[in-house]
Amino acid sequence: MTLLSIRDLAIALPVGADRIYAAQNINFDLAAGEILCIVGESGSGKSMSANAVMGLLPEGVKPVKGNITFDGREILGLSEAEMLPLRGGRISMIFQEPLSALNPLMRVGAQIAEVFEAHGALSKSERRDRALKLLEEVGIPDPQAAIRAYPFQLSGGQRQRVMIAMALALEPDILIADEPTTALDVTTQAQILKLIEDLRKSRGMAVIFITHDFGVVADIADRVIVMQKGEIVETGTADEVLLKPQHAYTRALIDAIPRLVQRVDTEADQGKPLLTVENLEKTFSTGAGSLFGKRRVVKAVQNVSFELFAGETIGIVGESGSGKSTVGRCIVRLLDPDAGRVLMDGVDISHLAGAELRDQRRKLQMIFQDPYSSLNPRARVSRILTEGLIAFGTSKDAAHAKACELLEMVGLDASAMKRFPHEFSGGQRQRIGIARALALDPSIIIADEAVSALDVSIQAQVLDLLAELKTRLNLSMLFITHDLRVAARICDRIIVMQKGKIVEAGPVSKVLHDPDSAYTRSLLDAIPGQEYERALALAEAEV
């Protein structure tokens, strides 16, 4: 039975945007109890299409054509008053960032009860009971305590569960999930995916699941829609689309997925280590432990030691809060370690200051996560690339020439020099960030989640670029990431961190395919789309 049907929908962007339609020629049906995945890269119009169903388009963005029929009734163009009972009641939605989707000043129980209140359902005490039942249903540990908690007291996964509980409150027919697991750790993601799958079964609810991750699609979807630049390029059942993609774009996306394939270990030339980290420790404390509450102490890094050899890439892998970024920051001294030594060419840089630190740090550069906040929005690329060189005494002309060379090296045109960062796409910005890191001829690059904010096809390109530059310039790299698939693609050795400690370290093939620790095992098991990967490998082998 078709529950929702969209015909020829076109959504116009405001005048002056980079294209006329956010989405056009959108046609699809959603049957009861079905999970439909809409896949696409950022800017493909996948979220806009779903928001149009809810009547929640941003200001200036309007549907201009087409029909949305829900349960036999046209809902496109309904007034706000007519939409209200539908929203939350018949169709509900969960979002990517559960912390900003929940009201920080309201207790969890009150927020769930508010859904009933808004729809005038149930009495006050019934609302509380139902809220409790819902929290139980979405698998929150200790719902009695959770109902009285504020959102900030819950973990990311628990918050997303609360969001799901709110969305389920009025037993909707359709749940729209907009990248609900993107902000979560891989183990939490696996749990949330399972929860959505279970709820679909127990309630017969239809789900529109928006994601950019093909692994997630493979695990959860019945049917798949692939979108590119505002148009649907391919639709079909999950198996059809994922294993026998028809459209070139779908194939490109699938090829770009980093895989956990077995890799031949490249024996690095074990000479003297370039960088030695010994017993690194870093503790954060918040609050002075005054009148108002206890001092909170977080041991972010405990007793971390490793060696990095020339030409080697070490991946530091862990979930959020594992201290992996803190390690990187302590090494480059953006943070000061509490204890331990960081030896570079025999010099301990963990306690240097002033000019000495500055000179040593030249050999140690960093690539940052967010391509948007890592470039000064008010500086031209030429300044971004040359100012470090000039600060170290290179002449302006020489620095300029070097910057042009660097741009070429990272695959950009020298004309980029005169432009501002906002004129570039995310992937291009990350290339500029890489060029900046290379400007001072470092011997070690620390890449902190350098590809996490990028779309999967761009991610693959940037990873290839990094691998190429690494061999060409004989760099050593410390690659910090939460994504084991990305680490598998680029690293020689992997260090797995949990709660500030190293739980496992070893060559890629060992850590990823025959891990010693249970924690690594659980991380590996949680990677979405593993069955699919095997099926895909099998299908490729046949061809």
Partner: protein, 279 residues
């Protein structure tokens, strides 16, 4: 720049404000040419109502001085005081805020306690005390106004810098070997500029009001005709010659209003994401 104007002019109030301010600026510039005589000079009988003598369009005051000439010369004083004292206040507040925000810790504590010391004293009272100590000349009026109006600048800049210094591009600059001064001047302050510009436009309005209030109390420069002085002098005759207080009062109101409107327009234009309507 084109976008900036489009967003600025989308706010109709801001365009009106800009129009009024342009008029005031033109008046201030042209005053010495249109009214070459000193505004202090007595030209007719006292209390001549407006529109009775074509040569003296807005009449005369209690001593027979030309009101329209006083208004025109007063515009110059108001704008000068507003602009210069704002520049001085920025020159004090921006460095203090930037240093406090960038270095944090003890520097921050010391500088912010110093700032709070000024903030705890009501600014108008402090300005009166300062002028009672100094000689009442235009320069000291400007200095007094600057001294009481820099603390909000320091606080604003500190807040902006605090959030900017943890941004990745600042960390990248640190790793590139740039010194603190370079990082503050080239990476942090340019990005903190939009809110500072908005605040500055409102501070000009504040300064004009403060100057008028001080002149009203007779603490202004006695040799300079200002709007505040005109109101102060006409205060005693408000029941018989109300226009003598009303006209300079309107001048102050319109100028301050125009600056506030411009400030709001600047805010819309410089922080497009906070603008209520984009289309």
């Amino acid at each position: 720049m084109k976008n900036f104007w489009r967003r600025f002019s989308y706010n109709r109030g801001a365009v009106i404000g800009l129009f009024i301010l342009t008029l005031v600026i033109l008046t201030a510039i042209l005053a010495p040419f249109v009214f070459p005589q000193s505004p202090w000079k007595m030209v007719q009988r006292p209390f001549l109502p407006p529109f009775t003598d074509n040569a003296l369009l807005l009449g005369t005051d209690a001593l027979g001085r030309n009101v329209i000439s006083g208004l025109a010369h007063g515009a110059y004083v108001s704008l000068l005081v507003g602009l210069v004292s704002t520049i001085v206040a920025l020159a004090i507040g921006v460095p203090i805020g930037a240093l406090a925000g960038y270095f944090a810790g003890r520097t921050d504590d010391a500088l912010m306690r110093f700032t709070e010391f000024f903030q705890t004293i009501p600014s108008f009272a402090l300005a009166i005390v300062l002028l009672a100590i100094f000689q009442p000349s235009l320069m000291f009026v400007i200095i007094a106004i600057s001294i009481v109006s820099w603390p909000p600048v320091a606080r604003l800049v500190r807040g902006e810098v605090l959030s900017l210094r943890t941004r990745e591009f600042v960390e990248a600059a640190t790793l590139s070997g740039l010194g603190n001064t370079q990082i503050i001047m080239r990476h942090i302050l340019p990005n903190a500029l939009p809110p500072i510009i908005v605040l500055a436009s409102l501070m000009v309005a504040q300064a004009i009001l403060l100057e008028s209030s001080l002149s009203f109390l007779g603490l202004g420069d006695p040799n300079i005709m200002s709007w505040g002085y005109m109101i102060g002098a006409a205060r005693t005759v408000i029941r018989t010659a109300w226009w003598l207080s009303f006209l300079p009062g309107m001048a102050i109101l319109l100028t301050v209003l125009s600056l506030n409107l411009i400030g709001e327009g600047l805010n819309d234009a410089l922080n497009p994401r906070l603008t209520r309507k984009t289309q």
